[in-house]
Amino acid sequence: MADVPAAPAPTDPGSPRRRLRVRWVVAALVCVGVIVWMLVGGLAKNLVYLKPVSEAVEERADLGTRRFRMGGTVVPGSIVETDTGVRFELVEGGTTAEVDHSGDPPDLFEECAPVVVEGHWGAGAFLSDRLLIKHGEEYSPESESLDDCGEHPEGVDGSAAATSGPPR
């Protein structure tokens, strides 16, 4: 295509230009590899990042002791400290589940907090060893009243308002 001999430099094997070019081709391929790894290893497994409490309870028999994440809102007055961590109830879609968490909960763990617990179903409760806070997208300097969790707009699946409190 080019009538000037523009090509010779990059095609000469061993020329610095060509070596540089090969290096960048390899870099581009590494990026593609990382993307594939993230999509297959990371995203594919976590596209369903969590199961709301209602689903987790419904599928309890099928789930067995399989590890998964469950999301819901902490029931006010249900938090009890244990030797290994905390025990509390999680509510979502009108369904409540007992959670036995081992480990220190994060700072923002409190009544009405929308949380994600990771673990599996045990005999009496969901045995969790990882507790994350799933905070909402609303920001305000004034604190909302805690006696009504329905006021929390981010009820993990957005349906917490239906379980308690007036519709917004």
């Binding site: 593609v32 993307i35 995203l43 609303e138 305000s140 981010e154």
Partner: protein, 262 residues
């Protein structure tokens, strides 16, 4: 327009402009950027009230959100510039260089977004990193454009590079809406957008909202400054490369050597 496209595959610079002689007068823009960012820091760290729920950790929002916005903006500019390059009537080497410059700035801000998100996630969520859809698609975005930047350096004529990179930029851009809507489409740990959510409900008010707005504007000024200087650098490098190539070819023709020293 400093460069024109010529059909023989060798884009050439018009006259001596992109060379060394001209020292840019961007100090006004630079000063505006510094000022805007200075005010931004004061607003974000002192003026804005702490969030009732998250406390001071929420202040990270005032840099995390604008950084993410800049990444979106930068990759959008890259995509538009790539289309302008691909469209024969607007094709100019300039668009290819703008696309590359904007992508580099976008990569910096995507990486910054991820790092700031991690610093925010640790105290608030209780984790540095989760493979949820928002975080993963953002990480994918970073590597898509890192790959794009690597692709830009794989040699060839400006024409070939332009075509290849423009197509790659458009493919990579497909991830931008996926990142933005990931929080709506899938269950994620990451919350939904505070402003550009499906309901277009602004979930932030008062001083907090103004601080966020100022932050976004300040970062946008910063973007203009960065892309402008990066594009200028690209124009200079393009000119240098052309000369280098011309010299190398001339040398080759003169001496008949097979190796070219750069």
């Amino acid at each position: 327009m400093t460069s024109t496209y010529s059909p023989d595959g060798s884009a050439h610079s018009g006259g001596a402009r992109p060379g060394a002689a001209r020292v840019p007068r961007w100090s006004v823009l630079g000063a505006a950027t510094v000022l805007a960012l200075g005010v931004q820091a004061v607003l974000a760290l002192w003026v804005a009230p702490a969030d009732a729920n998250q406390g001071d950790a929420q202040r990270l929002m005032y840099i995390h959100v604008p950084a993410a916005w800049l990444a979106y903006l930068a990759f959008t500019v890259t995509a538009v510039a790539s289309v302008l390059w691909l469209w024969p009537r607007t094709r100019s080497v300039k668009w290819d260089l703008v696309a590359g410059a904007s992508a580099e700035v976008g990569v910096v801000f995507t990486a910054l977004t991820l790092a700031l998100g991690s610093l925010w996630g640790r105290p608030v969520w209780g984790t540095w990193w989760e493979w949820d859809a928002r975080l993963t698609t953002t990480a994918v975005l970073l590597f898509l454009y890192l790959g794009y930047l690597a692709l830009r350096r794989t040699g060839d004529s400006p024409d070939e590079r332009g075509r290849r990179c423009a197509i790659a930029a458009l493919i990579a851009f497909a991830d931008v809406p996926v990142v933005h809507f990931s929080v709506t489409w899938w269950e994620t740990l990451h919350q939904e957008a505070t402003v550009f959510n499906p309901k277009l409900e602004t979930n932030i008010t008062g001083t907090m909202a103004w601080t966020l707005l100022w932050s976004v504007v300040a970062f946008t000024i910063l973007y203009v400054y960065l892309v402008r200087s990066r594009t200028q650098l690209a124009e200079m490098q393009e000119g240098l490369e052309e000369r280098e190539l011309a010299n190398a070819i001339a040398e080759r023709i003169e001496t008949g050597e097979s190796a070219v020293t750069v």
